[in-house]
């Protein structure tokens, strides 16, 4: 009975402090939402991937080689620790998609006629499997099919080893090998121009001259077997067959991309919630300390009536728990909603048979425990102080607060300060912890706004670099196969052409020591007008007559430096293997690249004066005419229109970044608003008497408001620069974490990014302060003067 009356007091007190309790719950809720969202996303991605891998038997070790007879597979299977082996064909192909006026290429994999694959089994999304014995059928990866609106029954043309073949799409599929379906080395997926395809082994084998042989291998390990010795054994076995180094899942491109995302989520799942909850814990402390100060007499009476310390402590801890419970509900709901949104975003990048948001069931109780812990840590000292109060002591009003001149005043500038300013700085100095946490909250709000915008600006810079600095053409045209350089004259005569620049690209594998990377070498004329190669000091490079220029990142990955001899193995044509001097390093951001003088490249490939395409600038007025004319040239395989690539990229990426910006914006606003609201409500409550006195002795409401606002302004002036610093740190760490061989986002911090963060925090804080200042008009001028509280 008694405790239920105490509970009634609890509810009434809570209702009186509803605003502040809500602010605390919201800030705490933000931290929890972030935690529940990230942990659930980690759980969703990890468990979905794991299930997918298990159900579709994703291999554990992979290897590519030049060519080995199928009988080698049996020898691989004998290697200790190998459980199941699957061999097949994997080849690069060029495509002609009717609806696409841009380059398309892809990777085509083989499927055995007689049985479903042992490993890396496909998931059929639409259509049907390949009919055994039925030629000219292909299965298409879902990402490419979606991007090009391909459906079962549609026709596509594929250049298999230079021979054009008309194929019919039998089905749309997914593969555990291509959760992230992207051109090797590309930073961001462009699913319209790169796809994965599956065809019957026999057709591929005859097209690529691999009858009875294979050039790709995948295997699973026996339970308990260790990966490293197996990889070493495979490398020894495959070397005579042109083996290119076996690798485990940790180096598998698609696996890495999902793991990278999970890794970033792990950082977010700990970093941000810790800061949010820290701020929330302090806010709880501030609110409860205030309540306890107000209720000194009530505490004394409760104790005088015989309530134990424990009962008093529990009563006040319940306040914290109500706020924590509200925060858990808010954070749980928020986390689930945001998690669903982000899973929607992941659908753009990651292809699973089904990726559902899965709530990490541990996250919710964990969130409650963590925030309850934070709250208890926050309120414990205040509550214990109250519990220790002897009843008689508690009955007396609190002694007047002691103040002293603030530090800034002691430096001698004190005389210059107005009284309002002095009141503000002395109050801040008397409550340093409260000031520090308000600063921390505002700095956090400022800081988290920097991150998504730095991301956006980094991506924008990469794209601008790519499309404005490196590629200055309006469009590029690729040929079906290398052609005589004389086709250049034909190109030059097309309508609307302003400039033509030929290029020669060739797929190669570049190796240095034990490390190898597969990529395309771009061969350009010595004097470049449209395409440019940018050197390490952002200077345009002149391609040397001999030697190779590669991305600085590629050199780092290979462990090579300028002057070293690289092994270059052509993966097309006569497939010569040559040694080429590393002549220079290029600066780029997405993926890795290699450049060579076009003549040197042709010599390296043992070919004459050939090109594989050309870049153009054209008169916009004649663009339609130009494209129509191109269609009349049968040797043209693809056309890349820069603006449409750019637009496509902008749409997909902008939507994803926009979503993340929105989430961070909401969090930042809530924190800034909540922290300022709480701080000013507490100031207002603690100093109602002082403020009312000022009003009575003739200060206008505005002047009294200025006393409170001055404090906030001082705090904000400290917090915002700190927040910008903090945000710079967040952005640096997060970008460093996502930077890999395939994506390297530069850290771009623009004035407008900083300005936006400052603006959001300023607006949120100002609105919050205004809400509180409105309460100044309800200040009870008469009542507050009558008796000390």
């Amino acid at each position: 009975m008694v405790s239920s009356l105490l509970d009634r007091k609890l509810w009434r007190d809570l209702r009186r402090m509803a605003g502040q309790a809500t602010a605390v719950s919201l800030v705490m809720g933000c931290g929890l939402a972030m935690m529940i969202m990230t942990r659930s996303l980690i759980y969703s991605l990890e468990s979905t991937r794991q299930e997918y891998y298990e159900a579709n038997r994703f291999a554990e070790v992979f290897a590519l080689l030049k060519r080995a007879p199928n009988s080698v597979a049996a020898r691989v299977a004998e290697i200790p620790g190998v459980a199941a082996v699957q061999v097949g064909i994997s080849e690069q192909v060029t495509l002609d998609i009717p609806s696409l006026d841009e380059p398309a290429s892809g990777n085509v994999r083989s499927l055995r006629d007689n049985a479903p694959p042992e490993l890396n089994r496909l998931f059929l999304r639409a259509g049907r499997w390949l009919t055994p014995g039925n030629r000219r059928e292909v299965l298409v990866g879902e990402a490419f099919a979606d991007a090009n609106h391909l459906q079962p029954g549609d026709a596509i043309a594929m250049l298999l080893n230079g021979k054009r073949q008309e194929l019919r799409v039998a089905g749309i599929v997914l593969s555990p090998e291509y959760i992230f379906e992207s051109r090797p080395g590309a930073a961001l997926p462009d699913n319209r121009t790169y796809g994965i395809f599956w065809m019957p082994y026999k057709e591929l084998a005859s097209a690529f001259d691999l009858d009875g042989a294979f050039n790709s291998l995948a295997l699973t390990l026996a339970p308990g077997a260790s990966e490293r010795p197996v990889i070493a054994a495979i490398d020894r076995l495959l070397t005579p067959y042109g083996g290119r180094g076996a690798f485990g899942r940790a180096d598998h491109p698609s696996h890495i991309r999902v793991s990278d995302e999970i890794r970033v989520l792990h950082i977010l799942s700990i970093g941000f919630p810790v800061v949010f909850l820290g701020v929330a814990a302090f806010m709880t402390n501030a609110v409860l300390s205030r309540l306890l100060a107000m209720q000194r007499e009530q505490i004394a009476i409760l104790k005088a009536f015989g309530f134990t310390n424990r009962q008093v402590v529990v009563h006040y801890l319940k306040f914290a728990f109500v706020m924590v419970a509200a925060a858990t509900v808010l954070g749980g709901g928020g986390g689930v909603v945001l998690g669903h949104q982000l899973v929607g975003m992941y659908h753009r990048f990651f292809r699973f048979p089904s990726l559902e948001f899965r709530l990490d069931h541990v996250a919710l109780p964990l969130a409650f425990v963590v925030s309850a812990g934070a709250a208890v840590a926050g309120v414990f000292s205040a509550v214990r102080r109250a519990a220790r109060l002897p009843p008689a002591e508690a009955m007396r009003p609190e002694p007047p607060a002691s103040y002293r001149p603030a530090l800034v005043e002691r430096t001698g500038v004190g005389r210059l300060l107005s009284h309002t300013f002095r009141i503000a700085v002395r109050n801040l100095e008397r409550r340093p912890v409260q000031a520090i946490f308000t600063v921390a909250g505002l700095a956090l709000a400022t800081g988290i706004l920097i991150v998504p915008n730095a991301f956006r600006d980094g991506v924008a810079q990469v794209m601008d670099f790519q499309w404005d600095t490196v590629q200055r053409q309006d469009l590029s045209v690729g040929l079906v196969e290398p052609d005589s350089a004389r086709i250049r004259h034909l190109f030059a005569q097309l309508p609307g052409v302003r400039t033509v620049e030929p290029f020669r690209s060739a797929f190669v594998r570049i190796g240095f020591g034990p490390r190898r990377r597969q990529l395309g070498i771009q061969g350009f004329p010595a004097k470049l007008m449209l395409n440019r190669v940018i050197g390490s000091s952002s200077q345009e490079m002149v391609l040397p007559p001999e030697g190779l220029v590669i991305s600085a990142k590629l050199a780092e990955v290979l462990g090579a430096k300028v002057g070293d001899d690289l092994e270059v193995e052509a993966l097309e044509g006569k497939r010569p293997v040559r040694t080429v001097r590393l002549a220079g390093l290029a600066e780029d951001f997405s993926g890795v690249a290699a450049y060579m003088n076009i003549s040197a490249l042709n010599r390296l490939l043992d070919e004459g004066d050939v090109i594989t395409g050309a870049s153009f600038t054209i008169d916009e007025a004649h663009r339609g005419e130009f494209l129509r004319a191109l269609k009349g040239i049968p040797r043209v395989s693809w056309v890349a229109i820069k603006e449409s690539l750019r637009e496509n990229f902008r749409q997909t990426t902008a939507a994803s970044i926009g979503l993340i910006q929105m989430i961070y914006l909401v969090f930042a606003t809530v924190v800034a608003f909540g922290v300022v609201y709480n701080n000013s409500r507490i100031s207002l409550a603690e100093r109602a008497r002082e403020l009312a006195t000022l009003r009575v002795i003739g200060f206008s409401r505005r002047e009294v408001g200025a006393v409170l606002v001055t404090e906030l302004v001082i705090l904000a002036l400290i917090a915002v620069p700190l927040g910008l610093l903090l945000g710079t740190g967040f952005a640096t760490v997060i970008l460093r974490e996502v930077n890999t061989e395939t994506v390297r986002l530069p850290l771009v911090l623009t004035a407008s990014n900083y300005a936006f963060a400052v603006m959001v925090v300023t607006v949120a804080s100002t609105l919050s302060a205004l809400v509180v200042l409105r309460k100044l008009s309800h200040l009870n001028l008469i009542g507050v003067l009558k008796a000390p509280e």
């Binding site: 002082e690 003739g698 200060f699 002047e703 001028l781 003067l785």
Partner: protein, 219 residues
């Protein structure tokens, strides 16, 4: 619970004059504080007339009331109500910052014999000293009206006398209309006029032939 109308004051008809010292006496609930709040522009009467030198306080806007308090009225409260974060000198200086023709904070504090405690914070001052700072703060703007609400209510006799002396001195030297409300009848002796309130009405008005000095009072 319905809101029953309670009249704090009814039928109060009163003139107060420049330079006089008035003591308002009455038991708790007699309406003295309400009257003082109305006089000081903290509150407006729901009906009736209230004017100060041509300014209609009964229908004044909030801004006009703020200006009135700021320019003409000094308040002294039972619980001093100093700004805890400001020193004695600064508490007084706060007012001189917004007043039209203030005296120096030091001069005001000298008037209440606190020249030695200029740079002490309220927490470092005794109750009587805090109250004298409050009086210095009230008189530093050279107010035309000084309103004191139970100025000695929280003080012992000896300290109370010192505070009353300071009020009396301000009244005498600055010619300020001073109104003290109290339930301590002894203070009536130091007034020019004593007004008794009960049940929200003026019960009696009594003029003293001779004002007693504050130092001669005992209770």
């Amino acid at each position: 619970m319905g809101a029953a109308e309670v009249r704090a004051l009814a039928g109060v008809d009163l003139d107060l004059f420049e330079g006089e010292l008035v003591v308002l006496l009455g038991p708790s609930g007699s309406g003295k504080t309400t009257l003082l709040n109305n006089l000081g522009g903290l509150d407006v009467p729901t009906e009736g007339e209230l004017s100060y030198r041509g300014l209609d306080l009964a229908s004044a806007t909030e801004d006009e009331l703020t200006q009135f308090r700021r320019g003409r009225v000094g308040f002294v409260f039972q619980f001093y109500n100093l700004i805890p974060s400001l020193t004695a000198r600064e508490n007084v200086g706060l007012i001189t910052e917004i007043a039209a023709d203030p005296m120096a904070p030091e001069a005001a504090l000298d008037l209440v014999n606190l020249s030695a405690r200029l740079d002490h914070f309220p927490a470092q001052l005794s109750g009587g000293e805090q109250q004298r700072v409050a009086i210095a703060r009230a008189i530093a703007k050279r107010p035309e009206v000084l309103l004191c609400d139970e100025p000695t209510g929280a003080l012992d006799v000896r300290t109370g006398i010192v505070v009353l002396e300071a009020i009396q001195r301000a009244n005498r030297e600055l010619g300020t209309l001073t109104v003290i409300i109290t339930h301590n009848a002894v203070m009536a002796d130091m007034a020019d006029r004593v007004i008794h309130l009960s049940d929200g009405r003026v019960h009696s008005v009594h003029a003293n032939e001779r004002r007693a000095t504050a130092s001669s009072l005992r209770w």
